[in-house]
Subunit: 452 residues, 2 copies
């Protein structure tokens, strides 16, 4: 009797379990083993700020499927509290540490999928490991933070970095009644927007009560009895009971540094559009891997739940013997901070400059509903397009209720290489409670087309 | 000295004034004369239900630009209370009645744009002209209704027809405290949706307190002293203080029946994509004219503010000597009834059957936000696609806050002939307050693709 082929997956969250489920659905022959270093599978890391704020009552609500469910219902051998610490691609095996009993063993594979995700980036500064400093990229981190808040009742928090997670955590901590300070290296927060749009987000965050220090960089932390007491920047010392890391995500790939698997300088696994690495039978998906930007036509790193789910599905499809190709991203992302919505897609001015692409741009301010409809709110739309052709290159939106999801029209436009004229020509929906007659994205296109 | 060329426009609302403004911006040579039979220009007819409900305090808020503003600021000779009653294309002139002093005169033109809009359709039944029966396609009609309600304090209303306007007026009258009954000829209301989705709207409307009678058709009205007292259907007599006509829009083109201008059987003016009629130097735009459906690739009638604005702009561009072509519509429309949102785009099953197109379809029910996020609400998405290719043919959405505007992604997809796989591949925005990881439109596409 032939042995079943064995798929080993490292990491049991979105990318890994999407792949595992797909392989199980398509090919019941595979033995599937998943090593997950935490006790959790398939949870929404994006939901952690809402668990912290209390909008979501328990962390269990963030879990889509438990290890037990995968084991019993899907016959997927999920082994939680197991960390892979080395990959030996020559002998098709991985070295696994059982975090419960501290034993180690080698596990062989026929196919290997690396889906270890990312962690909060933090430079190796003094007191980096002190208690009270939290990343919220993993559920484990989220639960630790929640426990810390309940036990220590902190009154102040410093958020280091003004990206999505930083802003969502600012909202969460404001709701919990903390005094929140945010430090940001660049002149404007949210560097996934252009500075002119980021400036609007600065104003919004300030209006919500967040104290913002821009042009300030983390130098180190102060601690007393291994508990954080202050954040020290290049300019000042900010006393605090709690620190949230919001400086972006770095791939969890330290265990691969001695392997034959190609990584970028920042540690992301290089993959092709089928999610294959350079090593035969080794695949990667999710926040630990690179992806592809459809607008710049270049490899690209972005840590997002949608991409993790989709690249996991592509890897699983290919591993199961079918063909799939990840189409790439246009880098669409949205974020809600209290009543404010922020969205972006495509390329930023700084990216266009680096690519030496000639572009035109505009920002318009209009209303999200018919001007006379109650609660019509300001909405800002920025569009970037190619000089000469008018081909859309990027879009950014800031507004209140109903503003952000409009980015999806621009994302669809980008994917299909639409021009400003094509956007103007779209038959978008209109009724007074939803939009002015010309949707704000079309109003922006109508303004910008004059400069093509 | 040569005379200035003269553009005569019949109708001073969205289409007519978009054209007038465009011609003025592009070509200051033109003498522009606008005949408008009411006292108003450039108002939002779509806003009338919100004026009736009181959400919009005064009808003046619905007016974008007054006749005086056009006259003084734009040098457009707007003559309100002037109705064109005949068009003589042989001699390039129109017969105008001054509604103030009842005089008549001929006005010549070099270019003529017909933009007379539409009116509430009603068959010529008994007591059709009784007081208390209202269409709300024009601001004049809206103001009359508002005055009637304030004066007579009606307690009951019957809405004849279950289209967008009928439903929006139902909301308005419920807010005003009236007991609302709706009669509908088809088994499900909202025949711009497929019956399976219309059924969901029936349930929604009933839950809001509207009494609905389906499979009932208007026979005639009863009246006492020329005031409506009841609606008589093929099944029963419904006593009422007030009637709203919601049986659709018919083009205001009776004055053209003896002209050389080609009309459809239902009276819509036939135009090409430049908004030209069959007669040289005569153009038409807005609710009085036909348009073109990009999905069926056939001429199409739809009365919408967006189309009126856009076709007016196209006509104005061409009249001013530049080139423009109306791209056509995919028949996107949205409607809000209390907290519920309804949206549609593309073709219905009945239209696909009539076109003998082989299609597949699915309805999914999912959530508008991450399942754990507070106030995640049900959202229904129906997709229709071509059998064999998976090319999108239509989409319908019903849900609560944030549901309807998702139709714009489907409208963009339709315009660009995207397949279900293309929709699945889109990089749409995700964060827990906005969407599940897979946007509902993608979840529907993922389900339907199995049937291609």
């Amino acid at each position: 009797m032939m042995n079943k082929p064995k798929l080993v997956i490292i990491g049991g969250d979105a990318a890994g379990m999407s792949a595992a489920s797909k392989v199980r659905r398509e090919n019941s022959d595979y033995e599937i083993v998943v090593f997950e270093k935490s006790g959790f599978t398939s949870y929404s890391a994006c939901g952690i700020p809402y668990f912290i704020s209390g909008k979501v009552g328990t962390y269990e609500e963030l879990i889509v499927r438990s290890p037990e469910e995968f084991i019993q219902k899907y016959k997927i051998d999920v082994r939680v509290f197991h960390e892979v610490i080395e990959v030996d691609t020559k002998n098709n095996q991985v070295l696994v540490r059982n975090l419960n009993d501290k034993t180690q063993f080698w596990e062989t594979y026929d196919q290997l999928l690396i889906a270890t995700g990312g962690k909060s980036f933090c430079p190796e500064v003094e007191n980096r490991e002190a208690e009270g400093i939290f990343g919220v990229q993993s559920l484990k981190g989220g639960i630790k933070l929640d426990t810390f808040i309940k036990k220590n009742k902190p009154k102040t928090a410093v958020i280091v970095g003004g990206g999505y997670i930083g802003l969502e955590m600012a909202e969460a901590l404001i709701i919990k009644g903390l005094k929140v300070t945010l430090i940001n290296r660049e002149p404007e927060i949210m560097n996934t927007l252009d500075p002119d749009m980021g400036k609007i987000v600065n104003t919004v965050m300030t209006s919500l009560g967040v104290k913002i220090y821009v042009n300030e960089e983390l130098n180190h932390f102060e601690a007393k009895e291994n508990r954080v007491t202050a954040v020290v920047t290049n300019k000042k010392t900010i006393k605090t009971d709690l620190v949230i890391l919001g400086m972006g995500t770095s791939p969890n790939t330290a265990f691969l540094h001695n392997s034959k698997i190609n990584l970028t300088e920042k540690g992301a696994i290089k993959v092709n559009r089928e999610q294959r690495t350079n090593v035969k039978n080794v695949w990667a998906a999710g926040d630990c891997a690179m992806t592809y930007n459809l607008v710049s036509k270049k490899p690209f790193y972005i840590a997002l739940g949608t991409v993790a789910n989709k690249t996991g599905l592509v890897a699983g499809t290919n591993i199961s013997g079918q063909k799939a190709r990840f189409p790439g991203v246009v880098a669409t992302a949205v974020c809600k901070i209290c009543v404010y919505e922020v969205a972006r897609t495509g390329l930023l001015e700084k990216e266009l400059l680096a690519l030496k692409m000639e572009y035109i741009q505009t920002i318009i301010k209009t209303k999200s509903r018919a001007h006379y409809y109650p609660d019509a709110k300001d909405i800002y739309v920025k569009l970037l397009a190619e000089k000469g052709t008018g081909k859309l290159l990027g879009g950014q939106i800031i507004g209140e209720e109903g503003a952000a999801k409009r980015i999806d029209v621009l994302a669809t436009a980008l994917t299909n290489k639409l021009t400003l004229q094509n956007i103007i020509d779209l038959d978008l929906s209109y009724a007074p409670p939803f939009s002015p007659v010309w949707d704000p994205v079309q109003t922006a296109a109508r303004k910008l087309i004059n400069e093509v």
